[in-house]
């Protein structure tokens, strides 16, 4: 609000396109994340805000950029992430990683130059870049940009209630989960999944190697899920009414399911999986005659099948708590163009 007030009251501030972009991105995000029914005017306003932010961003990125510019890029990435086409998100996240590197966010060497508050903000911005980078990488099966060996930023800790960004509190208001840390761990698994199964090398694996990779990642995913306190597990969330803080946890769990289904080869747009299923189902088809009684039906079930079944039940139950008007969450739940992912 201070920034908005300054923008309208001080002409000097209006020279700063970063501020203008930030105001517009925050307005667009607030509209997008508002679960109340949107009017056409809301839509037009959000559209205008996005255009304004992009135009201002063009101006600011031509000069030396600042942390605020990076935050604007991240805000735009989040907006596009929930839309039908995630491609702009991919480009924006790549841009954000480069900007983070320019600002030296990936190293703590320069942290001493900043006051505690700014250092904390830089730290958080870096980790959001890190999470988005790996999330979009797995969803589009494109390489991610930030390598673990080329960074030394400390993992986010929950030190005080004054710096509770990234912390989600339970219904009792006392218990909490370090959501950001939890999400970072999942991001690492997403990156490992990409590396082991969908990178250029990963796609060259033979059946047995691919199965071994699947087992290894599934085990890591299982450990990750078990590390989440019971209160924040999907089964418990499904049993409660939807609260604003819970939507972040729902996002977290849907990202986990997405990763698990990919790793297990039971993703709805994996054509090999669908082919095995449909061929197996032929025997139960009305028009299927016994022309080939000796035909062998190969089981379509992958190893550890019931893990996938259990996860599917959880996933569909968790969907009950999603507010259908929460387009930011609904749009996030699923990869945007997986209708046409490589098979």
């Amino acid at each position: 609000m201070t920034m908005v007030w300054q923008w309208y009251s001080e002409s000097k501030v209006r020279q700063d396109s970063s501020n203008w972009a930030a105001i517009n991105v925050v307005l667009a995000l607030s509209l997008w994340h508002d679960v109340s029914k949107k009017t056409p005017d809301d839509d037009r306003l959000m559209c205008q805000c996005i255009r304004n932010a992009q135009i201002a961003l063009q101006a600011s990125t031509l000069t030396e950029h600042c942390l605020l510019d990076l935050q604007v890029v991240l805000g735009l990435a989040m907006l596009f992430q929930a839309g039908p086409n995630p491609r702009p998100t991919s480009i924006l996240v790549a841009m954000a990683v480069r900007m983070a590197h320019r600002l030296r966010l990936h190293t703590k060497n320069q942290m001493t130059e900043f006051d505690a508050s700014t250092a904390w903000e830089r730290d958080r911005v870096f980790w959001i870049v890190y999470v988005l980078d790996r999330d979009i990488s797995l969803r589009l099966r494109d390489p991610y940009h930030q390598q673990d060996h080329d960074m030394d930023v400390d993992l986010p800790e929950f030190k005080s209630i004054d710096q509770s960004g990234g912390i989600v509190f339970g219904n009792d208001g006392n218990t909490w989960i370090n959501f950001l840390l939890c999400r970072i761990d999942l991001s690492r698994i997403q990156a490992k999944t990409y590396e082991m199964m969908f990178s250029v090398q990963g796609e060259k694996l033979d059946g047995a190697q691919r199965q071994a990779a699947s087992e290894e990642i599934s085990l890591i995913l299982r450990e990750w899920k078990e590390s989440i306190p019971q209160q924040f597990q999907p089964g418990v969330l499904s049993a409660h009414s939807f609260a604003p803080a819970v939507r972040f946890l729902a996002m977290l769990h849907f990202s986990y399911y997405h990763c698990l289904f990919l790793v297990r080869g039971i993703f709805s747009h994996d054509s090999g999986w669908i082919r095995r299923l449909t061929r197996y189902s032929d025997r139960y088809a009305l028009d299927h005659c016994a022309s080939n009684p000796n035909h062998e039906y190969v089981s379509p079930l992958p190893p550890n099948w019931f893990e996938g079944v259990h996860a599917s039940r959880e996933c569909m139950r968790l969907f009950h708590v999603v507010d259908s008007k929460d387009l930011a969450l609904v749009g996030y739940v699923c990869p945007k163009n997986h209708l046409g992912l490589r098979s």
Partner: protein
């Protein structure tokens, strides 16, 4: 001017449905896994959650049907039909497992626009067409309301002045 958010201004319902369709991926994966579990019931111990699974599957099918109808998207309609058929076959598999023999219910089965066909005949030509036209993957799979940065970026850049009138794009109220 194209772009998702611009399109929402003219047809919020259509774009909301687009977003819903997007969501169908993880959700639909879960639904197909539960259908597959029914279909392969003879291969594993009979689940005592079969009734709950049926409820979840029915909800999922209704959800995907709804999106397909709102969008009037042929590919999605075919996918829905494929899921319905797979579920009908899975129901037959459960009945066969319970009562023996090969159960086939005429009432539940529809013409079979196979899921497999859906992938081989619908997507691959689309992918090939994209590649031939030099378009990025995913481009032709979505309606023209797909957001693209370059579309939105075409808006005229208005120069800001130090003390002059506020730039055009300052207008927050459309």
């Amino acid at each position: 001017m194209s772009g998702t958010f611009a399109q929402r201004t003219t047809s919020a319902c259509e774009v909301d449905a687009n977003v819903d369709r997007n969501m169908s991926c993880t959700y639909m994966s879960a639904m197909i896994v539960l259908i597959a579990n029914k279909l392969t019931t003879s291969e594993h111990e009979f689940s005592n959650q079969v009734e709950e699974d049926d409820l979840l599957i029915d909800e999922g099918l209704d959800f995907v049907d709804h999106i397909a109808r709102v969008l009037d998207d042929d590919r999605l309609l075919r996918l829905c039909a494929g899921c319905h058929e797979l579920n009908a076959r899975a129901t037959n598999a459960v009945m066969s497992s319970r009562f023996g023999g090969t159960w086939k219910s005429k009432a539940t089965l529809r013409p079979w626009p196979t899921l497999e066909d859906y992938y081989t005949t619908t997507f691959k030509p689309a992918v090939m067409a994209e590649e031939e036209n030099g378009l990025s993957e995913g481009f032709v799979r979505w309606p023209s309301s797909v957001a693209r940065l370059d579309d939105i970026g075409l808006v005229e850049l208005t120069r800001m002045t130090n003390d002059g009138p506020l730039p055009k794009y300052l207008g927050l109220v459309p």
